[in-house]
């Protein structure tokens, strides 16, 4: 991946120490939390909000907002990398682990992939192994406050080990499937899986 080309006169801003080791290739550090949605922010009233797990499961399962709040919540601190090159370290979230949700459903043996779908029509696809064992959660709070609408509130998926477009804002459910089906950004030229450490930004990377 390293090029032999050198940009004349470029020195760059260097940050010493431990933080730069945590930066995936091609990323820069920010303390900011940019909003990069592709369309208007949806606003679903909480009394109408539900979260559903369906597809290749024994029984479709749905939670209302009140029911969702009864699920055990955990605190998660994670480094987040966006394909637009920013990385924000140690972002503090609270939410419900996907492992907790999956205790309530029985996954079919053929369920190899999932599609996360959201208000406003957004979708993204993930392989099942990427969401298990503490690797993903449904976040309801960021930095000690309820998740703001422009950041995906009331609830968004967070999958910290992949580029942040995989962390579907305004999530309303996940559907388990046998085949991998490209979601919104994947259909618009972005990578099928999106691992920042392999710099899997675009479809051909």
């Amino acid at each position: 991946m390293a090029s032999n080309f050198v940009s004349r006169g470029f020195v760059g801003k260097r940050r010493a120490g431990e933080k730069t080791n945590r930066l995936p290739p091609g990323q820069y550090l920010t303390d900011d939390f940019p909003v990069l949605s592709a369309g208007p922010t949806p606003h679903t009233p909480l009394e109408q909000w539900t979260f559903t797990v369906d597809g290749l499961v024994r029984e479709k399962t749905t939670w209302t907002w009140a029911e969702f709040l009864q699920l055990p919540m955990q605190a998660f601190t994670a480094d987040i990398s966006c394909v637009t090159k920013w990385t924000h370290l140690d972002m503090r979230w609270e939410g419900v682990s996907l492992d907790t949700l999956l205790e309530h459903v029985e996954l079919d043996r053929t369920a190899l992939y999932l599609t996360a779908y959201s208000d406003g029509g957004y979708t993204t696809n993930l392989p099942v192994p990427d969401i298990l064992n503490g690797q993903s959660f449904i976040a309801l709070r960021y930095d000690g406050r309820p998740l703001a609408p422009e950041h995906g509130g009331p609830a968004r998926m967070v999958v910290p080990h992949l580029y942040f477009w995989k962390s579907a804002k305004w999530i309303r459910g996940i559907r388990f499937m046998e085949k991998d089906k490209q979601g919104f950004w994947e259909s618009a030229g972005y990578h099928r899986r999106g691992d920042p450490w392999k710099e899997e930004r675009y479809w051909n990377d």
């Binding site: 390293a2 090029s3 080309f5 050198v6 940009s7 004349r8 006169g9 470029f10 020195v11 760059g12 801003k13 260097r14 290739p25 091609g26 990323q27 820069y28 920010t30 303390d31 900011d32 939390f33 940019p34 909003v35 990069l36 949605s37 592709a38 369309g39 208007p40 922010t41 949806p42 637009t84 090159k85 406003g120 029509g121 930095d143 422009e150 919104f184 950004w185 259909s187 618009a188 030229g189 675009y202 479809w203 051909n204 990377d205």
Partner: protein, 246 residues
């Protein structure tokens, strides 16, 4: 056959100062492919010791111009790549890029129907690609641009926009200056709000395709107004720049 989206080494053919904070860089590409208006290129800088920095910049030029692209870059305070491009890069220098990238925030003249463009600051760049493409393709799609800048000196492409609107091919441009206005200013003089958008966008009707680009607060506010005006949320595409203060 070269791998699509591989890095290539472009040559800086021209640098144009657009405003005190914005410059346009014309890059000649050895492996140019026609882009779609609204797409961007990724730029990668490499220091002698291998340290690298990457950023994305929207394409300002029309796809009809073969072999080269214009990237208009705003200088960001402390910006690692923008400051290099503004202060160090000169004509004849090489720069590593890849693209074109982006499949959603795009407009082609084959898309019929009225077009609403809303820009804040350097958010004008991808919309300018659409406007230039529209002209090159000789489209007469009713098009209205609402462009928010801090002052008259910050309006990027001002003379070109004035020339284009004089052409009377269905393009109308509305400016709002939010911080300072010159004496005798006849345009808007405040942040984009519902009244302003209603006045500008109203005549295009509810079937208009809208593209909004700029700082997220401006984009968020404008998108919400347009949804409230009855535009289909799926017809409103947004691209957001800049920090948001967490």
């Amino acid at each position: 056959m070269k791998n699509p989206l591989s890095w290539q080494i472009a040559t800086v053919r021209k640098i144009k100062v657009e405003t005190p904070r914005a410059k346009s860089f014309t890059l000649e590409l050895p492996d140019w492919t026609p882009h779609r208006a609204g797409q961007h290129y990724d730029v990668r800088l490499t220091a002698e010791d291998g340290y690298q920095a990457q950023r994305s910049y929207s394409i300002a030029s029309e796809p009809e111009r073969e072999g080269e692209v214009d990237l208009t870059v705003e200088r960001i305070a402390d910006g690692e790549v923008s400051n290099y491009m503004h202060d160090v890069l000169i004509e004849g220098d090489k720069i590593e890029v890849r693209g074109p990238i982006g499949g959603y925030f795009v407009w082609e003249s084959s898309i019929r129907g009225p077009l609403l463009l809303v820009a804040g600051g350097s958010g004008i760049v991808p919309l300018m690609s659409m406007i230039r493409h529209r002209r090159a393709a000789q489209s007469d799609a009713p098009t209205r641009l609402l462009y928010s800048s801090r002052s008259i000196d910050d309006i990027i492409y001002r003379h070109e926009l004035e020339a284009l609107t004089a052409g009377k091919d269905g393009l109308a441009v509305f400016y709002t200056l939010t911080r300072s206005q010159p004496a005798g200013w006849k345009g808007f003089a405040r942040r984009i709000d519902a009244g302003m958008l209603s006045e500008v966008a109203g005549p295009l009707g509810k079937e208009a395709q809208a593209f909004i680009c700029g700082p997220t607060q401006l984009v968020e506010a404008a998108a919400e107004v347009l949804v409230g005006m009855g535009l289909n949320a799926g017809h409103i595409r947004t691209e957001r720049f800049g920090p948001t203060g967490g």
